[in-house]
């Protein structure tokens, strides 16, 4: 029982959704897998936008359109492996090992929640799709610039760039959440590297394609490792070591 909930509203438009959810104690409800698990007692109104969101996954003119209402399982089932070398599906699985939960968890919810240890979230941060966000009107915002305000209704991934993607994740078991994620996408002349996992905040940087060398790898490892702590998965030194190792592999492959 989520005892603090007093009402669930069903807005008929994104406009209404924004208005309802701007009040204190309100939260947007899409799939609900995160919200209902957390049962935040400060939330008393849920604004159910599931019926407003579209679930479509479409390729059109060298762009991949993903509706914010698409579930993580939809992504696995419907996006062919030729798109981004199948990484969207693979990271969707790693983000959430339970098929039951994947069938409930929406892409929009995953991005809005923005977990540092969500593999698909970190991948998308690296690919940087353009989000369609409704604030007072519908606007296009690149993911890395989104400030967390408004309702994500969908996103568009530019496919013609055909980035080279390397994605490495470290977890206790295959089914466990990643405690360290190191990924890079190379788009022709530049490279975006993102590091996430059980850290205070995930980290991303975009550099020229040939940027990775011993010195820069050392520096990136040192800086990003400072966002981790000594915990049951290992010491900071170990995580730095793994980041270093992954970055070397990235340098060697793309």
């Amino acid at each position: 029982m989520w005892s603090s909930i007093r009402q669930i509203l069903n807005p008929q438009s994104f406009d209404e959704a924004i208005r309802f959810s701007s009040r204190t104690g309100s939260a947007l409800l899409a799939g609900g897998s995160y919200l209902v698990r957390g049962k935040n007692q400060a939330v008393h109104t849920l604004v159910d936008i599931r019926s407003l969101l579209n679930r479509r996954l479409e390729i059109q003119d060298e762009s991949l359109f993903l509706g914010a209402g698409a579930t993580l399982q939809d992504i696995i089932d419907e996006i062919p492996d030729t798109i981004c070398d199948g990484w969207l599906g693979k990271t969707a699985k790693w983000s959430c090992h339970s098929k039951n939960v994947r069938q409930q968890r929406t892409l929009g919810g995953e991005i809005a929640t923005g977990r540092s240890n969500s593999d698909i979230y970190i991948l998308l941060q690296t690919l940087d799709p353009v989000l369609q966000v409704f604030m007072s009107t519908m606007e296009d915002v690149p993911l890395h610039l989104w400030n967390g305000i408004g309702v994500i209704t969908g996103m568009k991934l530019n496919l013609h760039l055909k980035p080279d993607i390397v994605f490495q994740r470290y977890s206790v078991l295959e089914s466990s959440q990643s405690y360290l994620i190191v990924t890079a996408c190379r788009f022709n002349d530049h490279l975006t590297v993102s590091i996430g996992g059980d850290c205070t905040k995930w980290f991303s940087l975009t550099v020229p394609a040939m940027y990775l060398n011993d010195l820069s790898i050392d520096e990136i490892s040192k800086n990003s490792a400072s966002r981790f702590t000594n915990d049951q998965n290992g010491s900071v030194a170990y995580k730095r070591y793994l980041i270093h190792h992954s970055l070397q592999q990235i340098r060697d492959s793309i």
Binding site: S3, Y170, D231, Y238
Partner: protein, 759 residues
Amino acid sequence: MKVVGQHTTRVDGKALARGKAVFADDIRLTDVLHIKLLYSAIPHGRIVSINTDKAEALPGVVMVLTHKDLKPHFFTTAGQGYPEPSPGDTMILNPVVRFVGDKVAVVVAESPDIAKQAVNLISVEYEEYPAIFDPEKAIDNEVIIHPEIKGDRFLFDAKRNIAARITADLGDVVSAESSSTFIFENEYSTPYAQQAHVEPHITLTWLDENDRLIIRTATQVPFHVRRIVSEVLDFPISRIRVIKPRIGGGFGAKQEILNEEICAVVTLKTGRSARIELTREEEFFAARSRHPQRIRLKMGVDKNYKIRFIDMDILENCGAYGPHALTVMSVTSQKSLSLYNIPNIRLRGNAVYTNLPIAGAYRGYGAPQGFFALESMIDEIADELKIDPVEFRRKNIFQPGDEIPIARILGEGREGYKMTLNTSGMEACLERGKLLIGWDERKNNKSGNIRIGYGVAAVCQGSGVPGIDMASAQIKMNEDGSFNLQVGATDLGTGSDTALAQIAAEVLEVPVSKIIVYSSDTDMTPFDTGAYASSTTYISGGAVKKAAELLKTRIIDQAKRIFENDEVKISEGILTASNGEKLTFSDLCTRSFYTDHQQQLMASASHTSFDSPPPFNATFAKVSVDTQTGHVRVLKIVSVTDAGQVINPSMAEGQVEGAIPQSLGMALSEFMIFDDHGQAINQDLLRYHIFNAIDMPEIVTEFVHTDEPTGPFGAKAVAEIPINGPAPAVANAVFNACGVRIRNLPIMPEKIIRWLGKL
């Protein structure tokens, strides 16, 4: 044999497959009260004051109990036979709290949600005491965790924080040491692991129409629950009935009086039905877990590679209270010291209190810890001496006909009994396992970043606790030739109802479908100590066999009377007189009920044993180690078991298959972490990593047949033994793969990288 040893569908299978309402919580109680507990926020201290006014004032709250409301009485929560060989160091609610998670108050309300809200309205003022978190610092620490307990014969020395001590000597270790050519000494340890059964602890209580207290609970020990609740609440046994419905897993965590007494108190005080169910989070800190142990081993080997002596020193962490403290340590030592024929043994063990969550019974019950240490050291010795690990084991294992001297010295909490090994399939298990894993591959050169390694562990367990476990059964006949079999034995998913039905069916020569099993109800079934110590097949099965055999002779005698003929043969449900006259079971019973020499054909029997014939197991592991990241992946586990005559092959395989991921978890991914205030951190299934369907390696399970003369139809136990081997086998495989020896579980990637000098 027609039934025993044959694949038989579980007698309760269909109900489970169809999701029928058979578990404890699957009933609707009228007017039920819900119970939630307030737990201590500090690891050690005294409750100075506790204010429950706001909680009691919340609408829907019926009652709040604190230590002031209950008569102080010390008992043990361990579900063991009387007198329980565990310290009587627990009170239902104690004014002193001893770990983060110790019970402070009981809130009773009309709904679980109201109860939960009320818990947050209780304010407690503590006087905090210093706390002990390191078991190595517990003995003679100036902080005493149970200062108030005096004169408890099962609490070794409260003033020194020693809950239990164990000592055993065989031969002369000192002179054996001087005559050993090679000496090895090392220290090993295992962590806090959780049983993690999917159904939480759940109890419901109510008063029936005769004002008897009915306890419907997920328990492995219904009779111990009845006795201990009676003792704690000073309420007569004759007015208590404990019913065990289907259980969603226990693995030892439900061999405990865990909250039944609280639920009963609420019913007795209010007259209403009551319910308490632990949340998953509470399962992690407020239930029971495996005893973490540190084991120091010193072993000596002569020039013929025979082990001359073993010196074992155990430090066991009980947590804040000591249920099963002594007996777990006894099993750790007795089982691991019963595998190899070592003439000189020195055993010392201390079980100590710390201000951490309580350890209890968990499948294997000390043996997994013991075998992790022993089988790791055996492997280290084999490696040092350049002898094949399997060969080294073969040279030293006990052989059929040998007496196992340590068994006489070490019982479970008391002196043991003489044990002679009647059967041993240990060698055959090792040979078969070698073939199935591809043992010869282990010698291949290790190169590249990903190294493949192979490891082995040889293990044993027991079949019941000799001289302590007792079971009984009664069987009565029905007029259609079917039989009601009533047993105290507890099926916790292990399939014992089915196995016992098979034993009865085999004796009575009827199909299993003719045996209707009813189990684990203290009113309706005769006594059984409960499902632990791998006693159900061996001891409860023994009782069922006796009862069925007795009934069979009575059936024949009755037929003789009816035929008026002294020569009667029985075969497959038909009785035939020497003149050819026939009676079916159905005819016989119908006539016995209604017309001829009237009686209810029935029989009962009890069984106990001073034998506990060990089952044997060889577990082989194939792993891959990424020497750049330290990550270990288990690729394949081969588990070959000698369980004597296997009663039900698919159920026995199921026991092995389920035990394997529990042991792999202990080796690689399952361990509780505490902050420096003693609070458990990973209290959910996202952070406590259990092997999932996608994590499982390839599993190969086989059985080697032996015939145990003392077991029903030659059976030995199978439920616990398969959990002993995988962890040491994996540790040994990791060593074979990359030369890294991990002696302190869990095997963490960082440990491997550091050992390899990469960090």
